[in-house]
């Protein structure tokens, strides 16, 4: 297969690079590069910049304000953006709900919600997992009972990322208990300002509160907020997952993180020389670099298959597993690189407005927290164990 860009693709890549040079704020790129925390305003700022250029919704057709890009163009854009340390596009509205509405939504729903996703009117979050339904997602219990022209929702969602900022949540809810558990699920759009909704932050091991519990008590949701048919939610959820898992390999982001790691390893010292020249550390670095180069090509092979008309299915499970392992290994080496100075944890140093002298090297502050926080990569979006189960069934036929 050809790993090089065609002339058109090469020109497109240059265009993307030029755009990133011109428009990506240095302040945001520095935060991403060094692992400092992005605030709501940071994420909204980057969305607005992309939207102005018409490059926010890379999965959407042009008629709805998307880019209309093919899978290769999307890949080039994602790769270049990651290499430039651009913030990631928040997936919930753009990459998850958008494609669902385009496929299953009514015209009225598309006309109402899609523009609001693009211009940032609505910040969306994803209401899938529940305390008793994690890997076993179809076991979800949050119920929606029809009452006139409303559904009445009761139950609890958890691990809801950035729900504290959200205006809206798309939820999987149970509308039928009579048959197979997958057959009684519906897909509902719920206003987070509705009476009866309570958001409680979950504090993670690094002190960050990026995920939440969301409680629903007699929350009334207009029936026009049902997407697709009642009890069609599982089909929609599976469709959404194929989008959740696009760019799941995170090749560009890992390449960028590897560059940052090498930069640090060149300045940190061990045994009287630069860390990057320490044989054991160099071996660790080389292993992950080779693994990443291999995965980059695996990723291109999957993309090539998709561009040729095939749909990425279980292959995305391979990419998710390998991609998260590689990324986690890089975060592991990053914390190692700082030695004793990985241990101090000054949370304020990760936020805006911290002007004190760094403790140890400037980049050390988020290293350990980033390592611990990124343990989530192999857990969320379908844990790596679930992905292996998919490979076992879908590819191996066991």
């Amino acid at each position: 297969m050809n790993l090089n860009d065609t002339a058109e693709q090469a020109a497109f890549r240059l265009e993307v690079q030029q755009f990133l040079r011109d428009k990506l704020p240095r302040r945001l790129a520095d935060k991403v590069r060094t692992g400092r925390r992005l605030g709501k305003a940071d994420m909204e700022e980057w969305h607005a910049i992309l939207n102005e250029r018409g490059w926010l919704a890379t999965h959407w057709p042009r008629e709805w304000g998307g880019t209309g890009w093919d899978v290769v163009e999307r890949h080039i854009f994602e790769e270049e953006a990651a290499l430039a340390y651009a913030p990631r596009i928040l997936p919930f509205g753009i990459n998850m709900l958008g494609p669902v509405l385009l496929k299953f939504g009514t015209d009225a729903q598309k006309r109402h919600w899609l523009p609001r996703i693009l211009d940032g009117t609505d910040w969306w979050c994803q209401g899938y997992s529940e305390p008793g339904a994690g890997s076993d997602l179809a076991g979800l219990k949050t119920s929606a009972v029809r009452d006139g022209d409303h559904y009445v929702v009761n139950g609890q969602k958890t691990w809801t990322t950035l729900a504290q900022y959200a205006d809206m949540i798309f939820c999987l809810v149970r509308t039928d208990n009579s048959g197979k558990k997958q057959d009684g699920i519906s897909f509902l759009l719920i206003d987070m300002r509705s009476p009866g909704i309570e958001v409680r932050p979950i504090r993670l091991l690094d002190g960050e509160a990026e995920v939440n519990e969301v409680f629903f008590t007699d929350v009334r949701v207009p029936v026009e907020n049902l997407v697709g048919e009642e009890n069609q939610g599982w089909t929609i959820a599976k469709y959404l997952l194929t989008y959740e898992r696009t760019n799941i390999a995170g090749v560009g982001a890992s390449q960028a993180a590897l560059e940052q790691l090498k930069a640090v390893a060149r300045t940190q010292r061990r045994g009287g020389r630069a860390l990057i020249d320490d044989p054991l550390f160099a071996a660790r670095l080389a292993r992950v670099e080779i693994d990443l180069a291999n995965m980059a090509t695996t990723n291109l092979r999957v993309i090539a298959a998709a561009a040729g008309g095939g749909a990425p299915g279980a292959e995305s499970s391979m990419l998710k597993i390998k991609g998260t392992i590689i990324r986690q290994e890089i975060t592991d080496l990053y914390r190692r690189a700082f030695g004793a100075h990985a241990r101090p944890f000054v949370e304020e140093a990760l936020e805006d407005g911290w002007n004190e002298e760094p403790i140890g090297p400037d980049e050390a502050a988020p290293a350990a927290a980033g390592y611990f926080n990124n343990r989530k990569l192999s857990i969320f979006g379908g844990s790596n164990e679930i992905q292996k189960g998919i490979i076992t069934k879908a590819i191996l036929g066991l």
Partner: protein, 364 residues
């Protein structure tokens, strides 16, 4: 027996909520608990009788620190152990008695940026009148703020990396020449980067002959941290096993899935390997200095680093999202396990040391 006393004390007085409150609080430990532990005479187990204690063998240290690991205790025992072992070598028995009795919190201020061997000391001490003055910076000194006394390693002659010319000094941290920048560690407790600007210092032991004392301190610290890691691993194993037995998904306890069973089995056998490494190190600790002894200590710390990371990561993964929450004790154990590898040299450092020591032994 002292381990049993400590275990009871931790269960009664330092359960995880109290531990976390102290560990992530302003002082980074619980002074009242520390005082009670002193009353119980716990630190005495770390020292032999001629140093005022009632233990001091490798297994005494290992058993005690394993218990501290089980309880995720952040009280300043490591500083007592390391400074105390160094002072035992230099023969400063008055100071030592106060440390053994737990009356003084002492910090062993040795590590420097970019340093990894015992003799990698750039902080300098120079004569001033009939005393000494210290200049330079020590990093990530455990309980460096809470300490009422600092035992500082400094160079009185030669260049960084040379074994000769290294000396030990006692420094009063309240002196204006001492600047302490304290912070919370990500795994709890507080440490400090400590700057010395012509800080007055008292020489202990012979001028330029401190290397043996520093090695005594470091060797004890390696054994202690390896044992602490083992204690933490055992708790993590029990917590994870309990979770596999109780967490239901797909209508069954997740411990029924063979893929998870085998991973739990791997954890079990790796933790047993870590226990054996601690036993090897504790036995070697009581032997005279030799490369075999040093290799056993390096092997234990390497093993604690490698298996500690594996246990922490696997336990979090087997728990899923809940394993990452602050609310669960597991996450704090996982952080401690990983961060032990950032104290006194990581697994790569000790692997390299193990190789080098083996080469030396063959060459001699």
């Amino acid at each position: 027996m002292i381990a049993e006393t400590l275990r009871r004390f931790v269960a009664d007085e330092l359960p995880i909520d109290a531990r976390n409150k102290a560990a992530y609080g302003e002082r980074g430990h619980d002074p009242a608990a520390w005082a009670r532990l002193a009353e119980l005479g716990i630190a005495g187990a770390l020292f032999p009788e001629d140093a005022g204690g009632f233990g001091g063998h490798g297994f005494d240290i290992a058993v005690l620190f394993e218990e501290l690991g089980r309880g995720l205790v952040v009280e300043p025992f490591l500083g007592s152990l390391m400074a105390g072992r160094a002072l035992a070598v230099t023969g400063d028995h008055d100071r030592l008695a106060a440390i053994v009795a737990g009356e003084t919190i002492v910090a062993f201020a040795h590590d420097e940026a970019g340093a990894d061997e015992v003799a990698d000391i750039a902080v300098r001490a120079d004569r001033a009148g009939d005393g000494w003055r210290i200049e330079g910076t020590k990093i990530v000194v455990p309980h460096g703020e809470a300490a009422g006394l600092l035992l500082v390693t400094a160079r009185t002659a030669g260049e960084a990396g040379e074994r000769d010319g290294v000396s030990l000094f006692l420094v009063d941290p309240s002196d204006p020449g001492v600047t302490r920048r304290g912070y919370t560690n990500i795994d709890g407790g507080r440490s400090a980067d400590i700057g010395f600007d012509a800080a007055p210092a008292t020489l202990v032991g012979g001028e330029g002959a401190g290397a043996a004392a520093i090695e005594a301190a470091t060797d004890a610290g390696l054994l202690a941290l390896s044992a602490e890691a083992l204690g933490a691993m055992e708790v993590v194993r029990d917590l994870t096993l309990d979770y596999l037995r109780t967490r239901q998904q797909f209508g069954v306890a997740i411990g029924k899935f063979q893929a998870l069973q085998h991973r739990m089995a791997d954890l079990l056998l790796e933790i047993e390997q870590a226990r054996s490494a601690v036993i090897n190190a504790a036995a070697a600790f009581d032997e005279p200095t030799s490369s075999a002894r040093s290799r056993a200590l390096a092997a234990a710390k390497y093993t604690a680093g490698r298996i500690g990371r594996m246990v922490a990561e696997e336990a979090v993964q087997l728990h899923g999202g809940i394993g990452m929450t602050w609310e669960l004790p597991l996450s704090h154990y996982a952080k401690r396990l990983v961060m032990i590898d950032h104290q006194l040299g990581d697994e790569d450092h000790h692997l390299a040391r193990y190789i080098a020591l083996g080469r030396d032994a063959q060459g001699s």
